[in-house]
Amino acid sequence: MIFLLIFSEAFPQIQNYPVFALSGLIFWTFFSTTSAHIMGSLIENSAVLRSLAVPPLVFPVSQLMAGLFNLFMSFIPFAIILHFFGRLPHISDLLVLPIVLCFAGFIMGVSLALAALNVYFRDIGLLWNALLPAFFYITPIAYPSDLIPERMRWITEVNPLYHYINAFRTVLYDGLVPTAETWYVIIAMAFLSIVIGGYLFKVLRPGFIANY
């Protein structure tokens, strides 16, 4: 809320700043809370994992489901705000769903790696929580991406979060269909993230029991 009030003054060039900011913020919140929850899910349930034959993957998956549920719930007030700013729902808004799917895959991959490493090294959690605010400010969520100077543009380009946030914003704020290039990038990143995260999880899994 404070965000919206202050920054809408700071960026007078952006029309409907609250809609602009929220179309990034709700997905950022989805990313930061879900990744943190998945990361902690194994050690929080270590008592169960130590004494019952439950596949460890159950806990990260359930956290992802919970995160998705919360995200969809936050769509309701968001839709009301959109309506308040005179933006009527459109059939192309449904494009958010496949983007959410890719984003969820991306988050799952990253978080599986974090969760698995967190079992061995407990400071991974602290490190991640310290890095999250940095990611928040480095990603154009509260400010428009063209505010970034040309020579620093590459930082945005290599930041996976930017591409997802950008896709969401294209659909929800601009009311447009993301370009084919955007689709390739977000699908490829989700795929890569799951493959790498899943592989790390699989390799580290046999040692979980000794390190919970």
Partner: protein, 248 residues
């Protein structure tokens, strides 16, 4: 039930653990990658064991000899690094009582949750419910209450009731009966006897030789990650006491 129920052939279990002093990423990064991060540690080795159907099998051994890891292996929580584990039936592990009980949920909700975690169906029949009511000795009011308000004994009762509600083929017990009062312990032993009479195979880990001799037919003694002696409870008891240096 007869024949071999559990068979372990040349089983080895290694754990992947951090190297000494490498508990945090920080210490790894400050060593600039000069040290290796993880190493293998041998927990169990060369285990050959055969447990017959309907048998009550005891396992004794010192702290850290690998008893709990062996039970986890039988429960399917740990996979063997080498060798084969074969179990012909449904295993009900009871490695800790009251594990998986969610403090914010009611007794009944926990019964459902825990039994789902154990691989049972989502909804239990009236048989299971009435068994849990009668075994745990908890009233319907207690079972509707949030588990965080339970006493330790109530949780143990509920935990034992959940674990033994359906007749398993194999029941694994890891010194969980040390909690609870004498009446509860006797109730547990009665249930164990009952399951045994119905042909359930029981693997029982305990420090207390007396308990093993009371309920088990055969036993094994573990030392340094392997089985050093298998035989009747008396032989194993003598061997175990020999290891401890205490005359029987």
């Amino acid at each position: 039930m007869s024949g071999t129920m559990i068979e372990l052939r040349n089983v080895h279990v290694d754990y992947l653990v951090q190297r000494h002093g490498m508990r945090s990423i920080k210490s790894y990064l400050t060593s600039f990658g000069s040290k290796r991060l993880l190493e293998r540690k041998h927990i169990l080795h060369d285990i050959d064991l055969r447990i017959n159907g309907g048998e009550c099998f005891g396992i004794v051994g010192r702290n850290g000899s690998g008893k709990s890891t062996l039970l986890r292996l039988l429960a399917g929580i740990v996979e063997p690094t080498k060798g084969h584990v074969r179990i012909n039936g449904h295993v009900a592990p009871m490695l800790a009582l009251g594990v998986g009980l969610e403090p914010e949920m009611s007794g009944w909700e926990n019964v459902r949750l825990c039994r789902m975690l154990m691989g049972h169906q989502r909804f239990d029949g009236e048989g299971v419910r009435s068994y849990i009511r009668s075994f745990s000795g908890l009233s319907e009011d207690d079972l509707e209450m949030q588990v965080k308000r339970y006493s330790t004994g109530m949780m143990a009762r509920l935990g034992f009731a959940i674990a033994t509600a359906t007749d398993p083929d194999v029941l694994l017990i890891d010194e969980v009966l040390a909690v609870g009062d004498v009446a509860f312990q006797q109730q547990c032993y009665r249930r164990i006897e009952e399951l045994k009479a119905r042909g359930c195979t029981i693997v029982f880990v305990s420090h207390m030789l007396g308990e093993i001799q009371r309920i088990c037919d055969r036993a094994a003694c573990m030392e340094n990650g392997t089985v050093v002696k298998v035989g009747n409870t008396h032989e194993v008891g003598v061997h175990y006491h020999g290891l401890l240096g205490i005359p029987l």
